[in-house]
C-alpha cells in the first residue's frame, strides 16, 4: 500500500478515535470519560472529512461536542456527588446481564459490518484529489425534495413533541 500523507493522517485520526473510545469505557472517573468522548467525537468528525462529508463532519462537532456532551457534563455535575465509580461494581454484574449485553453488542457490530460492506459509495469513490463538491446542496435536495422528506418531517414532529414535553415537565406549577 502506498504510504502517503493522507494515510498517515487517516491512521492518526483512527488511532485517536479508537484509543479515546477505549478510555471512555475503561476510565473510572465519569468526567474524564466525558472529555475522552469529546476526543472520540472529534476523531469521527475527522473520519467524515476523509469520506468527503464535510457538512456532516461539522454537524458532528456542533451537535455532539457543542450540544450533547455539554448536556451530559451538566447532568453529571448537577446530580452526582461522587464522580469515581466504586470498584465493587464489577461483582454486581450477573451472568445473564453479561450474556444479554454481549448479544446486543454482537448484533450491533454485525449490523455495522453489513452496512459497511453494502455501502457502494465507499468502494467506488473516485480519489483524484480534486476539490470537494459542496455536499450541502445534495443533502438539502434529498431531505426536503426527495425520498427522505417523510422521515425528516416525522423526526421534526418528534423533536417538537420532545420540546413541548420538556417545557411542560420543567415549568413551575401555575395556579390561578
Amino acid at each position: 500500500m502506498e504510504f502517503t500523507l493522507k494515510t498517515f493522517i487517516f491512521y492518526g485520526f483512527a488511532l485517536m478515535t479508537v484509543s479515546s473510545a477505549l478510555l471512555v469505557v475503561t476510565v473510572r472517573n465519569i468526567v474524564h470519560a466525558a472529555f475522552s468522548l469529546m476526543v472520540t467525537l472529534f476523531g469521527i468528525a475527522g473520519l467524515y472529512v476523509f469520506l468527503q462529508a464535510d457538512f456532516l463532519a461539522a454537524t458532528q462537532v456542533i451537535v455532539y461536542v457543542g450540544g450533547i456532551l455539554v448536556l451530559i457534563l451538566f447532568g453529571v455535575m448537577m446530580t452526582s456527588g461522587r464522580l469515581e465509580m466504586p470498584s465493587q461494581v464489577k461483582s454486581h454484574i450477573e451472568r445473564g446481564q453479561l450474556l444479554l449485553g454481549g448479544a446486543v453488542a454482537l448484533a450491533l457490530f454485525m449490523l455495522l459490518l453489513t452496512v459497511i460492506a453494502n455501502t457502494p459509495a465507499w468502494k467506488n469513490r473516485i480519489d483524484d484529489g480534486t476539490a470537494l463538491p459542496p455536499t450541502t446542496e445534495r443533502i438539502g435536495e434529498l431531505i426536503l425534495n426527495g425520498p427522505f422528506l417523510l422521515p425528516f418531517e416525522v423526526v421534526s414532529v418528534l423533536l417538537l413533541v420532545a420540546l413541548i414535553g420538556a417545557a411542560l415537565i420543567s415549568r413551575k406549577e401555575v395556579r390561578d
Binding site: 474524564h32 476523509f50 464535510d54 457538512f55 462537532v61 456542533i62 450540544g67 484529489g129
Partner: protein, 421 residues
C-alpha cells in the same frame, strides 16, 4: 492523493504572487506542494533536490503557515488589551496606563513579561490533567476560527465549502474548554462561572445560528468567499442593507456574539462582584495569559465574522474600491465593531441571569425565526437584487429606524424620574 489535499483545495494564499510568479494559482489544488515543486526545488542543489521528500515538505510548509497565524494573531490582543484600557480610561475620565513607554504603549508587553515569569500554580485538590489541558482547548479553538476568515482578496488560509458552518462548529467547542477549566479547578467560583458560561453560550448559539441562516439563504452558499463575493457592488449590496430582515439579523447576531464571548453586559460567567473571575479564577501566569489572549482573539474573530457576513467583508464601500486587496478596509471595519463592543462594556450595567435568558429565549429566538420567514418571502418576491428591491429595503430600514427612535423616545419620556434614596 487525495482528499486531504481536497480539504485544502482552493486555498487562496497567493499573497506571495508577486514574489513567486511560477506558482500556478489557477489550479490552486495544493499551494504548499506547488510552492515546493516550483519555488523550493529549483533553488536546491541537484543532489538534494532529487531526494527531496515532497510529502514531508508539504506538511512542513502547512505547519509553517499555521505557525505564522499562531505567531501573528496573539499580537492582536497585545494591541486590543491596551486599546481596551485606554478606551475604559477615556470613558471614566482617566488617562489609563501612562508609565511604560510613550503614552503607556508598551504596558501590555510589560504585563506579558510579568505573566510569563509568574508561578504556574496548580490547585492541589483539583484535577491536574484537565486543569493543565483546559487553556489549550480554548486557545486552539479560538485560533482555528481564523483559518476560515477571508482577511483580504488573497489572504485566506482555507476556503472551505462549509466556511461559516465550520466556524460555528469550532467555536461551539470552546464551551468544553470552559467547563474543563471550571470543573478541574475544584473551586466554587470556577464551577459556578463555568456553568453560567456554558448555559449562556449554548443558549445564544441558537439566535446566532438563525441570524447566519438569513445570510446563507440570500447567498445560497456557506462558503465565506462566496458570501463576500455577493457583496461586491458597493455599500448598498452589503447584506445588512439587502433586506430589512438582514438588518435586524445583524443586530441579533452582534448582540448574541457579545454574549458568546462573555463580555459586559453579558459577563455573568466572570462577574467580578459575585464570583471573583469565573472559570479562570484559579489560573495564574502563562495559563491565565492564554485565556486572556483567547478572549481578545475571540472578540476580534466575531467582529470579523460580522463584517464578513453583513458588512461586505473586504469589499470596499464603492464597487471595486478595495485598496491593497481590501485588507485595510476589512481591519478598519472589524476594529470599529471591536470598539463598539468596548463602548458597550464600559457603558452598560450587567444583566441578571433571568433577564439574560429571557432576552435570548423570549425575544431573540422568535425574532430570528421571523427573520428567516421574512427573508424567504423577500427572496420569492425579489429573486434578483435590483435597484428597486434595494431602494424598497433601504426605505423600510430608514422609516423603521425613525419609528423606533420616536417610540423609544416616548417610552423614555413616560418613565418616572428616579427617586433619590
Amino acid at each position: 492523493m487525495p482528499d486531504f489535499r481536497a480539504m485544502f483545495a482552493n486555498s487562496d494564499f497567493n499573497v506571495s504572487e508577486g514574489f513567486f510568479p511560477n506558482i500556478n494559482l489557477q489550479e490552486k489544488l495544493n499551494w504548499a506542494e506547488e510552492f515546493i515543486q516550483n519555488v523550493l526545488i529549483p533553488r536546491l542543489p541537484e543532489a538534494v533536490a532529487a531526494h527531496f521528500p515532497v510529502e514531508l515538505g508539504t506538511t512542513l510548509v502547512m505547519f509553517a503557515c499555521a505557525g505564522i497565524f499562531v505567531g501573528v494573531v496573539p499580537l492582536l490582543p497585545l494591541v486590543l488589551v491596551l486599546a481596551e484600557r485606554k478606551v475604559a480610561a477615556r470613558f471614566q475620565n482617566r488617562t489609563g496606563p501612562m508609565r511604560v513607554g510613550p503614552w503607556g504603549t508598551l504596558q501590555t508587553l510589560a504585563d506579558g513579561i510579568k505573566l510569563i515569569f509568574k508561578e504556574d500554580f496548580i490547585p492541589p485538590q483539583g484535577d491536574r490533567l484537565l486543569f493543565l489541558l483546559a487553556p489549550y482547548v480554548i486557545f486552539a479553538c479560538s485560533f482555528a476560527v481564523f483559518a476560515a476568515i477571508p482577511f483580504s482578496q488573497n489572504i485566506l488560509v482555507s476556503d472551505f465549502n462549509i466556511g461559516i458552518f465550520y466556524i460555528m462548529a469550532i467555536s461551539s467547542v470552546i464551551v468544553m474548554g470552559v467547563i474543563m477549566a471550571g470543573w478541574s479547578s475544584n473551586s466554587k467560583w470556577s464551577l459556578l462561572g463555568s456553568l453560567r458560561s456554558a448555559a449562556q453560550i449554548v443558549s445564544y448559539e441558537i439566535p446566532l445560528g438563525l441570524s447566519i441562516l438569513t445570510v446563507v439563504m440570500l447567498v445560497e452558499s456557506l462558503s465565506m468567499t462566496e458570501i463576500v463575493a455577493s457583496q461586491s457592488n458597493g455599500v448598498f449590496s452589503w447584506l445588512i442593507f439587502r433586506t430589512p430582515f438582514t438588518f435586524i439579523a445583524f443586530f441579533i447576531f452582534f448582540i448574541s456574539a457579545i454574549a458568546e464571548v462573555n463580555r459586559t453586559p453579558f459577563d455573568l460567567p466572570e462577574a467580578e462582584s459575585e464570583i471573583v473571575a469565573g472559570f479562570h479564577t484559579e489560573y495564574s501566569g502563562m495559563r491565565f495569559a492564554l485565556f486572556f489572549i483567547a478572549e481578545y482573539a475571540n472578540m476580534f474573530a466575531v467582529s470579523a465574522i460580522a463584517v464578513t457576513l453583513f458588512l461586505g467583508g473586504w469589499e470596499g464601500a464603492l464597487p471595486g474600491f478595495d485598496i491593497l486587496g481590501g485588507m485595510p478596509g476589512f481591519v478598519i471595519k472589524t476594529l470599529a465593531l471591536v470598539f463598539l463592543m468596548m463602548w458597550l462594556r464600559w457603558t452598560l450595567p450587567r444583566l441578571r441571569v433571568d433577564q439574560l435568558m429571557n432576552l435570548c429565549w423570549k425575544y431573540f429566538i422568535p425574532i430570528a425565526f421571523f427573520n428567516i420567514l421574512g427573508t424567504g418571502i423577500w427572496g420569492l418576491i425579489f429573486p434578483e437584487d435590483t435597484l428597486v428591491s434595494i431602494t424598497i429595503s433601504c426605505t423600510i430600514i430608514y422609516s423603521g429606524l425613525i419609528a423606533a427612535y420616536a417610540i423609544a423616545g416616548r417610552v423614555m419620556a413616560q418613565k418616572p424620574a428616579p427617586q433619590p434614596s
